[in-house]
Symmetry: C2
Subunit: 570 residues, 2 copies
């Protein structure tokens, strides 16, 4: 059994995340050296420190649950598992999107659930749904609460009351079938906890989204998640072989563990359903032997386009590493700016001598048996050797691995300084990828420059398929005084329109939530939306499950405004 330290070994915790930002503020390390000067040069001077308001100053309305409703819910789970204290309600008042944090940090009146329910098992979930149907209470299934697209917003729809169904007590590994390499989990396990349980037995799930420290297995499946190592292990869609699901109309148990032709794959219908069709209470996932070796290397490509062509060659030759990631010129420059000037200058000289003036950083990671990693790495290197890439080596690779889950903390640092930081992701066929990249970049740049807040737009490819790849954009700009959410709204909308106009999917792994639902008509057509709605109406006829998510509200639906636009820069 492997004993080497792994970069995915994080503390197993069931503590809630800080209500106004990411994770555990104790893990924040300030802005990296050089970042402030670099940003000032690109987007203008950062603001002074503007911390969030105190928790008690976050305004939340009184709970709309009646006493009878509270009693009916408590009858199922016990009074201690029906929580409506201020802190718990604020902690469940949405996910971790930029607009979520803007509102919460400002202490603006935020929508919050009227209570947070903590069921212990499938039967309690099913019975809670029955109470909510008969009492007409909206239900938001809540896993890690890490959604960055409004997936756990407490949108009430037509209902007077809303509860958050927190699945954190459903946190067991129910069964590990080592012959078939299938593990059956309850949905509320967080990534590091699931991984620790598997590693004890010599296995890994191989699923490491950036939200890994807090996201749950049920959340992975409900949102069609992909992780940093999905090029190797497969996205969650590839790993899920079965689900158990509680719906207002009864239970679904789906999946056999191997290929089937028995009608459309209904496991796929639940995967990505974002809590709108039912509540996942068990997920059966493929696991792999825990790797003996994890090896990360950094390489440099002479341009984003040529680097992408190399990635395409790798994946189409069947020799893409487990982790494969390529930053564009801007993202690479931003990363280099966080090192010492001397080191960056030396690196630029080194690359210049090899004909590389606009370096694009490539991170490659192999996981598996020592033997296998050696063989696969040799096969990858062979393809790389035919192209003009330069190897930086393992130290730079290890440095990426060390910081692989730190990104969200940096957002908090920047928001403290009046900076908008937002990400979005898409994917397309290889043929359309270049055009899509340029169009989304241009949309973000034009929109934010037009508002007087020129952005820094970064991009990387992080998931490869033989037929295409993902693009992950990060943009950073000074917050627009007096129009913080309006500024976000304009940028997000322009980027989303550019995505669907250029052959991209509206989301590669963040899911739909509230923020992408208006583009579902572009994604699957009005009739595709209607087909999904038909399933929803059959499984949840009263419509209590996660209102306002996934399905557009109507043909004229648009990006939700997420509250008032007059929120001051935080």
């Amino acid at each position: 059994m492997p004993t080497r330290p792994s970069s995915t070994e994080l503390p197993v915790s069931s503590e809630p995340m800080i209500w106004h930002g990411w994770g555990d503020p104790g893990q924040r390390h300030g802005l990296p050296d050089g970042a402030e000067a670099f940003l000032a040069d690109r987007i203008g001077e950062l603001g002074g420190p503007t911390p969030p308001v105190a928790l008690e100053d976050v305004r939340v309305g009184p709970s709309a649950l009646t006493e009878a409703q509270r009693l009916a819910l408590a009858e199922v789970v016990g009074a201690a598992s029906v929580r409506d204290d201020h802190r718990t309600r604020v902690e469940h008042a949405g996910g971790k999107s930029y607009p979520d944090l803007v509102r919460r940090r400002a202490g603006e009146a935020v929508a919050a659930p009227d209570a947070v329910l903590l069921p212990a098992d499938h039967d309690e979930v099913a019975r809670l749904l029955a109470v909510c149907v008969s009492e007409r209470i909206a239900v938001v299934p809540f896993g890690g609460g890490t959604s960055v697209v409004g997936g756990v917003e407490p949108e009430r729809g037509p209902f007077d009351a809303l509860v958050s169904l927190d699945l954190s007590r459903l946190d067991r590994l129910l069964h590990l079938d080592e012959d078939s390499r299938i593990a059956v989990f309850q949905p509320g396990l967080r990534g590091p906890h699931a991984e620790a349980l598997l590693r004890e037995r010599g296995y890994t799930l191989g699923h490491f989204p950036q939200s890994y420290a807090y996201a749950t297995l049920g959340g992975y499946v409900a949102t069609r998640s992909a992780g940093q190592a999905s090029t190797g292990y497969g996205r969650i869609d590839d790993l899920v072989v079965g689900v158990r699901c509680a719906t207002p109309e009864g239970e679904l148990r789906l999946g056999h563990g191997a290929g089937s032709a028995a009608g459309p794959d209904l496991v796929s219908l639940l995967t990505g359903s974002e809590g709108t069709l039912g509540v996942l209470t068990e997920v059966a996932l493929r696991v792999a032997p825990a790797p003996e070796v994890e090896l990360h290397e950094a390489w440099v490509a002479p341009s984003f386009a040529s680097g992408a062509a190399t990635l395409r060659a790798l994946v189409q030759a069947g020799v893409a590493p487990t982790i494969t990631r390529l930053s564009d010129e801007e993202e690479t420059a931003t990363a280099l700016a966080q090192q010492s000037r001397a080191r960056t200058a030396a690196l630029r000289r080194y690359l210049g001598l090899r004909g590389i003036e606009t370096p694009c950083l490539m991170i490659l990671g192999w996981e598996g048996t020592e033997r296998r990693v050696e063989r696969d790495r040799a096969a990858t290197h062979e393809v790389l050797a035919e192209r003009r890439l330069v190897r930086l080596g393992r130290r730079a690779g290890a440095s990426w691995a060390k910081g692989r889950f730190q990104g969200p903390y940096l957002r908090d640092e920047l928001m403290d300084r009046g900076v908008m930081v937002e990400t979005l992701e898409t994917a397309a066929s290889w043929q359309r990828l270049g055009g899509l990249y340029l169009a989304v970049r241009r949309a973000l740049q034009d929109t934010l420059e037009g508002r007087g807040t020129p952005p820094l737009v970064l991009c990387h490819v992080s998931h490869l398929y033989p037929s295409g790849a993902s693009l992950y954009f990060t943009w950073v700009a000074r917050q627009e005084h007096g129009a913080v959410l309006d500024q976000w709204h304009a940028a997000k909308r322009a980027a989303s329109d550019a995505i669907v106009a250029n052959g991209g999917t509206i989301t590669h792994h963040h899911a739909v939530g509230t923020d992408h639902r208006a583009w579902m008509h572009d994604e699957v057509g009005p009739l595709g939306v209607a087909a999904l709605r038909a399933v929803k109406e059959r499984l949840d006829p009263v419509g209590i499950l996660n209102p306002g998510k996934l399905l557009p509200l109507g043909p004229g639906d648009t990006l939700p405004r997420h509250g008032a636009d007059h929120v001051a820069p935080s």
Copy 2:
């Protein structure tokens, strides 16, 4: 571009199959030497030759279409593309299941479409559906007509008239995106035709079901097909990245060519929908470079169980060959009986010296670049070398490849001699595979022995997944005089009950059709069926599309009796 001959290079033909059996009778070569004696020993003496009745003696009722209906249909496609001659109607009177052939060979009154329509493009398909909705005419989408589960039975449901929508004129490769390795096809192309178009450009689809010579690409997708090389290239579910579909409620265009998290995967909802939700008019499929090398080898395992354990080791180590197939003891004995006695005896001696008394034949096939095949083959051999397998070599492998699409012709030979030949397939996790194998075998044996017609039951594994594998059963028995269909019914029902009771899927790649629909309640539960039905009702509210397929008729639905039981042995 590869120029070596391939075992999948079959003549490109658009000729219909013979109405009473498989394909082109000119390709039949009689029973192999030794087969008759072997069978006589196992199941009893074969009957004398009993050929099918003449085509003109097959009884088909008059067309139920009114003249006005015929004119409305002809207005869309032209009068020449609305056919109702006797031959065309009989050729579309179902697929190629054993009960289909029993009835047609006997000349019993068979249900037949009232007309066969031959649209030329998507728009004609859509307009035909509109006519059929307003005229209340049932529509059976018809690709290659190779279904062995009743998938193209002309079941009318509540409608007075029924047409077969023959897609053979939609036979173009519309687009090949070489960067993304995606080809967009019309649905009516047969396997060899699609393959020839791709090979001209240096590509392959890599999809070779036994029905390859006649099955169509649209049929592959509509039935969630898997082919002989699917362990390497992936099943059709893995290859399909987009579809265009005409439904009575409008058009669906789905898929972007790369990973997405934009809600449940609706391409998966159309894949396996068996013409009940819409008519596929375009399919976007992943293609691979045409292999430089195709290399087949035969090996022998000492038992089915140990051979299966070896296959599991191969696929879980990521070194399973493109084609991986393992016959059980009976199937191997049956194959050996078709060789000369001297050769078989020599082989048994050779194996006996190596400790193998009950040989199980394993066929392994590698496809790819010369380099890649060499490397992959070495990796496979390494795993095989650790186990007690014996290599027979390439001649036996080539012999399998040569006959790979011949199986259905052998069925015709045997039906001519009063023998029932039927196949069925399932799949399960590795952990449940052994129990499933024994249970299905026992169900078939007990049922048919109990009726006085002891069967020969053969089985092989032919598709591997890290989590499980398929089982493909063939059974052969003397037809039961005066109860030919009743005999089939009893065996099929017993096997299907055994499958669902032992953790198997009711079908791994033949699809549901009429014959498996009663087990869909076991497969996905009543609520899963209800969810599918909700989609059906949204896309096809009048219910004209392929009535009686895929969805159970009700909770008490059962295996259809396929006509009268008094059909004489053919």
